[in-house]
């Protein structure tokens, strides 16, 4: 996998929002790569910059107030940061597609789902309306909708949340993108539907060699549906690792705390309270000096508060892990 060139490589991405109290960095020096056919998970609490990262890749953030201040977004030999709006429109939906969190509101209520899929196809393909409609039906079948020939003429309000998310995925897949950005695609859905949608994404990924950036706050989703993980906290990447390594030996105290607060079936003592992470995420407007997790960390020492902690490699070379903690090696052993 690592022998291939990365499909998307994000270097030092910084995104700021202009507010009344000055600019606030929602994403601060985030770097990662996605390789063809792999699933990269970004996990973190709400407000940690996951969605902003995804939206910046397609430059979908409203500017102003948001602004990409620094970094590069290399995709297939081009830097997405330097493309014109026109050129971006050609990339959006065709090479990079996106699935959003809220299937209830992500479809336009005035058009049938068929019309919306047909539009998605015809934005990038020269298909006739009739051809696009045939393709829309086969896409709906592909995302597991039975009776696609009926559903194609349904309005969004006639469908359930799970169905709508399937439709959103069908739209995203309509031009066979190389990269799918899935921003909490299952958060708004019931648990049983979540599993179906995530399994669907994985089978589509395998069949079309598409890469997926899966954004979630749910560690169990990360555990079962991604290859590599980026853990974000207050706008920064605090840890990046392959899923197996991360769950076997979490390096950052925040990751460790997250894993500890995850309910597990089976083993372990009964009737113990799940541990929680005390405190709240610091506001992006008044970040502490030094480590951003210091106020909630059990292993904090004086040097944690001194200056910004760099992202350093961790573990063996082939593990290819990075962590943003001064005491990572010491604490992990």
């Amino acid at each position: 996998m690592s022998s291939e060139a990365p499909l998307l490589s994000v270097e030092g991405l910084c995104v700021a929002f202009r507010t009344e109290r000055g600019a606030v960095r929602a994403v601060d020096d985030v770097s990662f790569s996605i390789f063809p056919g792999e699933t990269l998970g970004i996990v973190g609490e709400s407000g940690c910059g996951k969605s902003v990262t995804a939206l910046s890749i397609l430059r979908l953030l409203p500017t102003p107030p948001a602004q990409i201040e620094d970094g590069s977004l290399h995709f297939g030999g081009r830097d997405l940061r330097t493309l014109s709006e026109r050129e971006l429109e050609a990339v959006r939906g065709d090479e990079i597609a996106m699935v959003f969190q809220e299937p209830m509101t992500s479809l336009n209520p005035v058009h049938t789902v068929g019309a919306q899929i047909v539009e998605a196809i015809r934005l990038h393909r020269p298909d006739s309306r009739r051809e696009a409609r045939t393709r829309a039906i086969s896409l709906l079948e592909r995302v597991g909708i039975r009776d696609a020939a009926t559903v194609v003429d349904a309005f969004p309000h006639e469908l359930s949340g799970g169905m709508r998310q399937r439709v959103m995925i069908a739209m995203a897949l309509s031009c066979e993108p190389k990269l799918l950005l899935a921003d909490e695609p299952t958060t708004a859905l019931d648990v049983t539907i979540q599993a179906q949608i995530l399994d669907l994404l994985q089978s589509l990924r395998r069949s079309s060699h598409m890469a997926i950036l899966l954004i979630t706050h749910d560690l169990s989703v990360v555990e079962h549906h991604t290859d590599r993980v980026l853990v974000m906290y207050a706008g920064e990447v605090v840890e990046s690792a392959r899923v197996g390594d991360l769950f076997r030996r979490p390096a950052h105290p925040y990751t460790r705390a997250l894993l500890a607060s995850m309910p597990r079936l089976g083993g372990g003592k009964r009737r113990t309270r799940l541990p929680t992470i005390e405190g709240v995420v610091p506001g992006l407007g008044n970040l502490p000096k030094g480590c951003r997790f210091q106020e909630r960390c059990g292993a904090v020492v004086e040097s944690c508060r001194a200056e910004r902690i760099p992202l350093t490699s961790f573990g063996t070379v082939e593990e290819n892990r990075m962590v943003r903690c001064l005491r990572a090696e010491e604490l992990a052993s």
């Binding site: 979908l60 996106m98 809220e102 209520p109 009776d147 309005f155 006639e158 799970g162 169905m163 019931d190």
Partner: protein, 368 residues
Amino acid sequence: MSPAKPLTGPRGSFRRALSILARRRLARFGAAAIAVLLWLGTFADFFAADLPIIGVHHGETFFFANVTEPATLVVETEEEKRTSYEFALWPPVHHGPYVETDQRLKPPNREHPFGTDARGRDVFAQVVHGARTVLGLAFVCVALLVVLGTLAGALAGYFGGLLDLIVARLVETLTAFPAVVLVLAILALVARPSVAALVIALSLTRWTEVTRLVRAEVIRVSTQDYILAARALGASPLRILARHVFPNARAQAIVAGTFALSSTILVEASCDFLGFGLPSSAPTWGKVMAGLRDDGHAWWLFAFPGAVLFVTVISQNLLGEALRDALDPHRSVAAGHERDDDNAHRAAAENSSSSERESAIFQAAPRV
């Protein structure tokens, strides 16, 4: 609420709005009254004309002479008109709106059911023929101002910035003036009064309401998730405006247009009454009412056109209000129950994946 057929279509759709409208008594009354007026206006010649519908004159048969007005049938006196036909099928009132007689300022009688004006013209004929003028003028104005107002509102709301600032301030400024004053001011700018000038003046004074409503709706819709989703699919800004934003704001434009219809009719009537309205001989209700200024005792000059004007404006407002309620999901009578239904759909559909299909077919659920 009466037991009724299920409503279908998305919240805010027209099919749905029509079915809500159909069960509101006042809306039905409004629609019926407007239909009657349109019918009267369109077929005015069959209600009041100085030539018969079918007439045999000196052995020659004329059909629809009241519409075609052949030169050979035009006669000078009332007496001649009554006697020169071997056979004639007359409209209920035997007088056209233009013909002046010596029957001046006569109160309502059998010959002239609404009386006559100071030049001996039949008031009934002027009211029915006036319906054609007034409604026709209003529809042209409204078509113009809805297009203008929608464009201005949609572009300002969607693109924002300087354009929005200019449009919003312009709307506020124009709204501050009474419409009649504005029409006067605009008419003062043109060298010679013309019908086109009046239409433009009326449209320019009444577009603001459409703009205001459409702009607000466009701003609201622009922040919706599906607009972001459309951008993520690679749709261009103009395409998003035309295909995703505007269809959602269409209802506002239609409602504002309905209200603009009645307000345009009122402003036009005011202008006619004050004497700077329609610069042609075509009869209008305002012009008939203006006769009251010279002959204060002739109540029929005011009462009949005034009553028709009143019914017109009331009907259009009733229809507009009902349309607004029907198209607005927050005010709709059915909205309260709909949410529960949606949740029921979701629950039922997501319990098992096989029932997802059912929810697609399960669309005609009773919602009231």
